[in-house]
Symmetry: none
Subunit: 209 residues, 4 copies
């Protein structure tokens, strides 16, 4: 108790990439506790910082969440736009896109981000809107055009492309939430890649003329 040799304050100075470290800590705490239940002090501790230091990088809790969503989501958008270019057959494109996304759903924390967005979109609509506009409303029209092109070229039979996109994407959502919601509760792990591979196969066969 009176041991004074212990450095009671380990004042660290690592301007390395504090924001990124904090975001990583925030993600893991948010994922474990949910946004409301997460305490800023826990995030700080996990980032190896004091409570106050957090506020040097992010002005408040909500901004932290926004930054997290923004960061984790950045990649998606670019992927989407890259996809729209090609002029080859549609089916392989869809399969490639699906495989890439499946890998992300399987290996990254994206599913937890998605769960956060779902959970907090009521209390913090800016976050929900951000996701809606930057992810959902980027990806969906892109896929829609792809499907429409498939129909136009005779690769697919005539269906409503807007609805078809949701047929295609639904299982991704299911996989993501399975991972982030049900697996932590003890549900068996999902083999997302296998699931999606078969799903795309069914989907593409189902669209055959």
């Amino acid at each position: 108790m009176t041991d004074q040799s212990v450095t009671k304050t380990k004042r660290q100075r690592r301007p390395d990439d504090r924001p990124a470290e904090i975001l990583a800590a925030a993600l893991s705490v948010f994922a474990k506790k949910g946004f409301s239940q997460a305490r800023m002090e826990d995030i700080a501790k996990r980032a190896g910082l004091s409570k106050g230091a957090l506020y040097l990088y992010f002005p408040d809790k909500v901004t932290l969440l926004k930054a997290l969503v923004t960061q984790a989501t950045g990649g998606q958008i670019s992927m989407a736009s890259a996809m729209a270019q090609a002029e080859t057959a549609v089916s392989p494109l869809i399969m490639h896109f699906a495989t890439t996304l499946a890998a992300r759903a399987q290996d990254t924390e994206l599913p937890f981000i998605l769960k956060l967005v779902i959970a907090e979109s009521q209390a913090h609509p800016e976050i929900g809107k951000f996701y809606l506009e930057n992810v959902v409303l980027q990806a969906i029209p892109m896929m829609e055009k792809l499907i429409a092109r498939g129909i136009a070229t005779g690769e697919f039979r005539a269906v409503n492309p807007a609805h078809a996109v949701k047929s295609l994407m639904g299982p991704f959502l299911l996989s993501a939430l399975w991972r982030s919601v049900f697996e932590p509760l003890g549900a068996e792990q999902l083999d997302v890649r296998a699931l999606i591979t078969q799903h795309v196969d069914i989907f593409l066969k189902g669209l055959r003329p």
Copy 2:
């Protein structure tokens, strides 16, 4: 002290179905604010009760949420078991099941319950577990058997039934979250019935031998 016969009128507000009224109030407040942001007083007010009276019916906030999920979810289970019986062709069964569920996703508050479960399952695992065990793990094996039977009878080609179920169910999840998460943010409304009808069509064609 005062004339008690007068007071009587006040109490006549059908004290019968108080719990149900409270649950209805809770659902609408939870749906609007999310669980954490919902205040017990708001629920009480909407149920036409005082804060204190709430506690005569539900011991605490979490129990209220549990009861809500239990109640809203009860129907699903029975539907599921009823389905398992029939011995007819599988495709019409699936279409019927899908149509029924689409109607619920479109017309009831079920999507909001689902969103609540997703949002709160970390902070209150009992709720997540309850849903997992009573809804998800009831419905999925049932559908799985159905698909397996279709394969056995030659109605479907050979696929992994466990994965196929998720191909089938994913768009329901997507529809539910679209309604509960994105529509409140201004996204265009989804015609769930049309979407699901086409989805099942694609899905069943995709499973043809």
Copy 3:
């Protein structure tokens, strides 16, 4: 330590005049500590309440201060307007007004309110403005008219009435701040009544034609 007979929570219910009790408590704490240094919990304790109960009556700390100023200040205004009526000689009116105000400066907490207003008017301009508009800018023009009338009737010699008012009022301010600022520091007590009586005497003689 394990004595359970002690009522640990003395939940009181005295809807008597809680707001007034709270304001009294607030005044005494603000007067002792100043606004910023005053802790809501101290005010609560002094009012015989818990921290939270305070917020049932006043939504926040600033509102509490505003209410205090408003209440303590209410009387002044009516006094001012009553004064403007009479048509008699001006000197006795001034003497009467001065005597009344001296009594207040001597016997009430008004000086402490004034000190609070002065101290907080930067941080909370609404409070300063309220005081300026409802007290200062009510009293001063009224006195100005009185003096102007005295000049018109030949009771006083020709002076600038706007400045003369400040000659008259200055010592009140000095008395108030002496009581609220210097007496608590150990300065000798001021006999405000005697001071003001002599002051008005000098002032009126100084205005003789």
Copy 4:
């Protein structure tokens, strides 16, 4: 490691008068925000220093305030003592003294210092006491003697000198607070010189035998 002769230029910013620069910065920030609301960082920034450097000159915030009051107040005292000497008629002395002080109230930041002292004397009694002892209790007895001498020489009629001093000084206080409290709130500017000139005129006439 790097060329140090280059660095030298940076340091040449007259390190001589840092304390004075800091005090000037502190005054302007305190005047704008009040003591509690003033942030050390703002003072540092305005003084062209870093937060940390402030602490090389002043050990803490309160000391800074004390130093400010001490500095701004220094002049007063010497003026007071100089005044006590002369042996001429009292009235011209008073008029001269009043004019000098009016100029200060009009043109310097003294009114803001006074307001600070008033606002903080509860929370930091040393500051109030310092002002009381070094300013108030220096000036008042001096003026008192002056008035007593006027009475003794027959220049003034017999009044209570202690009270008369407050008749004389009150309007200064009023002017100072008008400038520091009410003008920032939008009140019309006060012509302190004219006000005081007339005030002294009234006061002296009011004291005529």
